[in-house]
Every structure is written in structure tokens, then in C-alpha cells.
């Protein structure tokens, strides 16, 4: 087909540029642009400087979707990189591609590289394990949604940072009454308001352990708890206590301009907020819905992991294993965590950041880690694994937008989202049969 041909041609061109050298080269395709891209380059350069046998070559391939599509096209052309960064919603697609991927745990074992899973934060790696517990890909940049708040505005309105959804409503009302343009907004709404709302309250989002136990899973997030919460938020929209600001991080300016007093989104916005906000801000844990649960369970991560692709020489995988060990070392991880706001993937890196005094100097920056490691993850809270999930997220986005726009009720929106989502799951199940 036309687009495949196009992809192949592009890939061939890109790869043609790499020439052989004495060192064993390891191609690493990633989706980190801007400052984070420079940090990725630094990790690779630093690793290359520690030894002479291997050379890791990081290549920026566009955003997450583009990077994944490029890697898939490259695989179809037999030109795949050794390592590719894939976002969490691509997990099911990647793991279904048996024969295309090289599970990280197996790779480490085959290469004779020491590797102990218990060093890693459970909430981070549980997302990427098989039901049997084998780690498939190496977590790299992981974050989790938190509640960001405008500390000055909350103080002016005379309210505390919220702990429950009742608090959120009180605070939103107080903020608007005090002259703010909006009380609450959020981004990545499927991730924050459906996926994480479910795990935070220990609710399943779908059958079969959220898809971990098989591709014949079905969505169940049209439950009363999710619907009531969304309906309540929609009703806050009437007098601007809630304002919808678009998908992904599009609503960030609403928060940093001082229009909205509260904003729920990824902890990885720390850097952006720090550089843009002209007020005192803080982050706190996601609010608890006291009608649903007495205590929060744990939140789930977003972000991306590194997948090894099959079809290369053993010698190259040896180098790759060494690089993965280097990358997950406490020093590198603590540095990455403190620079970017992504959570560290190992316990050692979290400890190191603590002993370096990072959390004392930057209060609230450990919120994400606390949320993730609040409890031992349950089948409802260790993550989600649904096929075609990129499209499912779009479906959820669309239906939620219809809710915020007043075209549908919360029940209609979620029922349709589940129905449309299930169709996509069935199509995926067929395609990987």
C-alpha cells in the first residue's frame, strides 16, 4: 500500500546514512525532542565514554506515534533499530508482536548481564510485565498524573490544597467566587480521569485484569463510579468551576497564566510549570472520591519504555544489555529524575535523590513516587494493556469532549465509549490472531 511504500523509502534513506565503524553500533530511536532530547544524547555520550567496544547512537524520530510507526515500518523492511522508545499505550501492540521484540529480561539473561527486578519500583515495572512476571521492556521515562495547584490563588481564596473531590469542588467554587476565571482543568483526560481514576480507586477498567490476562478483554469503565464523577465535573462547567482546555497538555497555559487554580496532569510538567508560572505553585496527590473508596490505591504511570527489537547479532545485544544496565544505574536515573520530573525507575535512584536533598529543596517533587508506591499494585492498578489503545484513547477523548460540550450525558458518553472501544479491541484481537 502507498503509505507503507512511503515509510519503507523513508526508512531506507535514513538508514543508508549510517556507515560501519570499528565499534559495534547500537541504534536507539527515541521520541524526546527539545531539552529532553539533549538529555538523551548526554546519556548515550556518557555511556560511550565509559567503554570503547560499543557505540550507542540515539536518533530522534519525531513524537511517540511517529517513532513507533517508523520502527514498525523499519521492521517490515528488515532495518529495525536495536532499541526503540515506545509509549505506554503501544505496549499491547508491541507485546503482541512476538518474533519482532526481544523481551528485556531475556535479553539481559542471554547476554549474561546481572539484572535484578526487585531493584525497580513495582508500580513502574508491573505495567510492562507479562502475567507470569517477565519484564518485556525497560522503563525509561515514566510519570504519573498529580494535582497541580496555584498556591497563591488557593491562599487568596482561603482554601487548602484539596485531598478529596469534595475539597476540589469547594476549592473550585471558592476560586471562582474570588474572581478566578476558572477553578479546575486537566489534560490527557483519558489517562487522568478514566485510567488513573480507576486505578486510584481500585476499580477495573476492563475485564481480564485490564487486559493483562488476554486479548479477549472488554471495557467496563462505564461503571457508576466513573459516570458519577464525570457527570459531577461536567456540572461544574456551568459557572466555570471546571473549564476544558483541550487534549494532551493543551490546557497548560490555562494554569500557568493564572486562569485556572487547579490543574491535573502529568508530574513531568514540573519543568514547564517552573519556567512559565509567575506564582507559587505546588503539587499534591490526586483527589480521592470518598463515595467510591476510603483510601487511595495507587496511580498508574504514563510515559515510555525502551523495547529491544529482534533480528540483530548477539554481540550487539551484549552491548545493548550493558547500556541498559548503565542507563538504569542510580546516578543516571537520579539525574534524569531531577532534571525532567519523570519518576526514577529504581529504588536506589529515589533513595539517592532523597540523600542528595532534592526533595527538601523542591517540596512536592516526590508526589509522583509516593502515589505510585502507595500500595502494592493490584490487578486493577498495575496498569492497563489494551490493543488499539491509541485509538481507544481518541474515542474516550471524543466522547468526553461530547460530554463537556453538553451534547451527551456522562452515561451516554461512557456507554458509547465502551461500545466503540470494544469494537476496536475485537479488531485488534483479530489482527494478532
Amino acid at each position: 500500500m502507498a503509505l507503507r511504500t512511503l515509510l519503507l523509502a523513508t526508512t531506507a534513506l535514513t538508514l543508508g546514512a549510517n556507515s560501519a565503524s570499528a565499534q559495534t553500533e547500537i541504534q536507539w530511536w527515541h521520541a524526546m525532542g527539545g531539552t529532553n532530547g539533549e538529555r538523551v544524547d548526554k546519556i548515550a555520550t556518557d555511556f560511550n565514554a565509559t567503554q570503547t567496544e560499543y557505540k550507542v547512537v540515539p536518533v530522534y524520530k519525531g513524537n511517540y506515534t511517529e517513532t513507533m510507526t517508523a520502527a514498525i515500518a523499519a521492521f517490515r523492511a528488515g532495518q529495525q533499530p536495536h532499541l526503540v522508545q515506545v509509549f505506554e499505550v503501544g505496549t499491547a501492540t508491541m507485546m503482541a508482536a512476538k518474533g519482532a521484540i526481544y523481551p528485556v529480561e531475556q535479553l539481559m539473561a542471554d547476554a549474561g548481564e546481572p539484572f535484578d527486578k526487585s531493584d525497580y519500583l513495582p508500580a513502574v515495572i508491573s505495567y510492562y510485565q507479562t502475567p507470569e512476571g517477565e519484564l518485556l521492556s525497560m522503563p525509561f521515562n515514566s510519570s504519573t498524573p498529580v494535582m497541580w495547584y496555584n498556591a497563591d490563588a488557593l491562599e487568596a481564596a482561603g482554601v487548602e490544597p484539596p485531598k478529596t473531590w469534595d475539597d476540589v469542588k469547594t476549592a473550585a467554587k471558592a476560586l471562582v467566587d474570588n474572581g478566578m476565571a476558572c477553578g479546575l482543568s486537566f489534560g490527557w483526560q483519558s489517562w487522568v480521569m478514566v485510567e488513573n481514576f480507576s486505578s486510584w480507586h481500585n476499580l477495573p477498567m476492563g475485564t481480564k485484569e485490564n487486559g493483562f490476562a488476554g486479548f479477549d478483554t472488554e471495557f467496563t469503565f462505564n461503571n457508576d463510579q466513573v459516570i458519577n464523577r464525570l457527570a459531577d465535573i461536567a456540572s461544574m462547567g456551568a459557572d466555570k468551576q471546571f473549564v476544558y482546555g483541550g487534549r494532551r497538555g493543551d490546557s497548560l497555559p490555562l494554569f500557568t497564566n493564572g486562569e485556572c487554580g487547579m490543574w491535573m496532569n502529568s508530574s513531568a510538567y514540573y519543568g514547564s510549570i517552573k519556567s512559565q508560572a509567575t506564582f507559587n505553585f505546588g503539587q499534591t496527590m490526586l483527589p480521592l472520591d470518598t463515595d467510591v473508596a476510603d483510601a487511595p490505591q495507587n496511580s498508574i504511570i504514563g510515559g515510555a519504555t525502551l523495547w529491544a527489537l529482534a533480528g540483530h547479532e548477539d554481540e550487539e545485544y551484549k552491548g545493548l544489555a550493558k547500556f541498559l544496565t548503565y542507563m538504569s544505574s542510580a546516578d543516571v536515573q537520579a539525574w534524569w529524575h531531577q532534571e525532567t520530573g519523570y519518576v526514577p525507575i529504581t529504588k536506589a535512584a529515589a533513595e539517592l535523590s532523597k540523600s542528595q536533598g532534592f526533595y527538601e529543596a523542591n517540596p512536592g517533587t516526590d508526589t509522583a513516587i509516593k502515589q505510585l508506591s502507595l500500595n502494592e499494585p493490584t490487578p486493577n492498578s498495575r496498569g492497563i494493556r489494551f490493543g488499539n489503545f491509541v485509538q481507544v484513547r481518541d474515542v474516550i477523548n471524543e466522547e468526553m469532549e461530547a460530554l463537556w460540550g453538553g451534547e451527551k450525558t456522562a452515561k451516554e458518553a461512557m456507554d458509547t465509549a465502551v461500545k466503540r472501544g470494544n469494537e476496536l479491541l475485537r479488531r485488534f484481537e483479530r489482527s494478532v490472531k
Binding site: M1, A2, L3, R4, T5, L6, T65, E66, T69, I72, F75, R76, T93, A96, A97, K98, G99, A100, Y244, G245, G246, R247, D250, P253, L254, N257, E259, N388, V390, Q391, D394, N397, E398, E399, E401, A402, W404, G405, E407, R427, R430, S431, V432, K433
Partner: protein, 293 residues
């Protein structure tokens, strides 16, 4: 038999058309046939598991309400873009036709938007209409109008129509102006002598006389709106909110590249291919021949 006597067969004509044929085969026929083949498959993204399903992808599409919605939306979008860009272009050309001093400057300035890449055109409108940072929502706010195209599908649609039409005005303007200048002055002057005011001259003389151009531009603009507005939509709305700006080409991209549903996406491109064939046929068969005045 006789012919062979008169014409010596030569390899030269074949050689001369060969490059054209080869290019067509490699860059058009082969990818197109691949698309047709792929549209009969259900396949995982990596190509590890493939199932030949005949027309199932097409059946799925035509049973899919969203696809049919997208179809109607595309028709509306194309009609709106064509109407808006052509009527503006016609008005501007009508004025430019009468300009004597500084005509070249005026024309050159009007042609500029055509040189702007679709994505950039989209980016301009994104900045102007950003609900939080944009200048237009700020002014609309004074009038008590709440602009938020992230939420309001109609506003989003209006925005992409404006962006797409704005970019095409320059192109249409060029054609209209050329058509108007090709009208013999004597006809206009005769109208003027008979006492027709400029507006009346425009409607009864100029507008009918440029109708072949209008029909030509109608097809060109429809094709433009159908196929070349991807960049604008991608930059401005990404098809949202709630699919309200997902036109057919955007859906092909979204299902294929983002959703990795290669079979479904290929089936959609085959349908689009069919549409282009129909439109081209209409243009050649009817419009080029039949428009008379």
C-alpha cells in the same frame, strides 16, 4: 497489411514515452495496486499475521457511522471552502480588474498566501484563535462571545474552513483576474454606454463570462478541500473536538499511522482514489466540454 508498407515500425516512440510510463508505473500504479491489495487484508502492524478478508474492511467502513459522518462532513467542508474562497476571490478580482494605479503591487500582495505551506497557514490560525492566548478570542471576549474551538465543534469547523479558504483565495484570484482581463473591453464599454452601473455590469456581463473559470475552479477547489487540507487540519484541530473536523483524508492518516489499522486505512484510501477518478472524469467529460456562455 497495407499499413506495414507505409509506416516503418520504429522503437523511438516507445523510448520517448518510456520515462513517462515507468514513472507512472513506479510512483502511481504500483503504490495504488499495493493499496488495493492491502485493503483486502486484516494485518497486525508488524506484518507478522495476515488474513485475507476480501471486502470485509469495506463492509466495516460502510457499517461504521463515524465513517459515514466523516463523509458528509467532508462534503460540507469542501462546499464551504470552495464557496468561501471562490466568492472572496471573485470580489477581489472584480476590484483588481478596475484598479489602474499600483495594480501590480496589489496583485502581488494578494498572491502571497498561496506561497504559504498548509501547515504554516494552519499554525497562523492556531495562534490567532488560541482560546487562551489568541488575539481574536480576546476581542470576541469583549463582545461577550466565548470562543473555544477545543470544545466547540462548530467553531473548530469554522476555523479550519477559514484557514483552508484563506489559503486558496490567492489561487482563485489569479484565475478570476486572468479570466476578467480576457473579456473584451468593448463588451463592458457597450454595457456602460447602455447605462449599466458597475454592479449590474458585473452580474450580467462579467459573472456569466467567467463561468468556465468558475466551473474549473469549483473542481480544483473541491479536490483541494478533499485532499490538500490535511496539513491545516493536522496543525489546527487534529480532527477534534469529538471528530468534528475529521475529514476523510485525516481519517486515513489517523487510522493508518496513529491507529496502525493498515487494512482499514487502505480501504479508505481506495475509496478516496475512486472519488478522485470520478471527479476527474466529471471535469473532463462535462465541464471542459459543456460549459458555454
Amino acid at each position: 497489411m497495407l499499413k506495414r508498407v507505409h509506416f516503418q515500425s520504429s522503437i523511438l516512440p516507445y523510448l520517448l514515452v518510456a520515462p513517462q510510463i515507468v514513472i507512472t508505473l513506479v510512483f502511481f500504479i504500483w503504490p495504488a495496486s499495493q493499496a488495493v491489495y492491502q485493503s483486502f487484508l486484516i494485518e497486525d502492524a508488524f506484518g507478522l499475521s495476515t488474513e485475507f478478508v476480501w471486502f470485509e474492511n469495506f463492509e466495516y467502513l460502510f457499517g461504521d457511522e463515524l465513517y459515514l459522518d466523516s463523509f458528509l462532513r467532508t462534503l460540507f467542508f469542501s462546499a464551504a471552502v470552495a464557496f468561501m474562497s471562490m466568492s472572496f476571490a471573485l470580489i477581489l478580482a472584480g476590484f483588481a480588474d478596475r484598479v489602474v494605479r499600483g495594480a501590480t503591487t496589489y496583485r502581488t500582495l494578494l498572491i502571497w498566501p498561496y506561497a504559504v505551506a498548509p501547515v504554516l497557514a494552519g499554525a497562523l490560525w492556531v495562534f490567532m484563535f488560541n482560546p487562551t492566548l489568541g488575539i481574536f478570542p480576546y476581542f470576541l471576549g469583549f463582545l461577550g462571545y466565548d470562543w473555544n474551538h477545543y470544545l466547540n465543534g462548530n467553531q473548530a469547523m469554522l476555523l479550519v474552513i477559514m484557514a483552508a479558504a484563506w489559503k486558496q483565495v490567492a489561487y482563485n484570484f489569479l484565475f478570476y483576474l486572468a479570466a476578467m482581463q480576457a473579456i473584451p473591453r468593448s463588451i463592458i464599454e457597450a454595457g456602460a454606454i447602455d447605462g449599466a452601473r458597475p454592479l449590474r455590469r458585473f452580474w450580467t456581463l462579467i459573472f456569466p463570462l467567467v463561468s468556465p473559470t468558475t466551473f474549473f475552479l469549483l473542481v480544483i477547489n473541491a479536490v483541494y478541500a478533499f485532499f490538500d487540507t490535511f496539513g491545516i487540519i493536522h496543525a489546527v484541530t487534529q480532527g477534534g473536538p469529538a471528530n468534528s473536523t475529521t475529514i476523510l483524508v485525516y481519517k486515513v492518516f489517523n487510522d493508518g499511522f496513529v491507529g496502525l489499522d493498515l487494512g482499514g486505512s487502505a480501504a479508505q484510501s481506495v475509496i478516496l482514489m475512486f472519488l478522485v477518478i470520478v471527479m476527474t472524469f466529471i471535469q473532463f467529460r462535462y465541464i471542459e466540454n459543456k460549459v458555454e456562455y
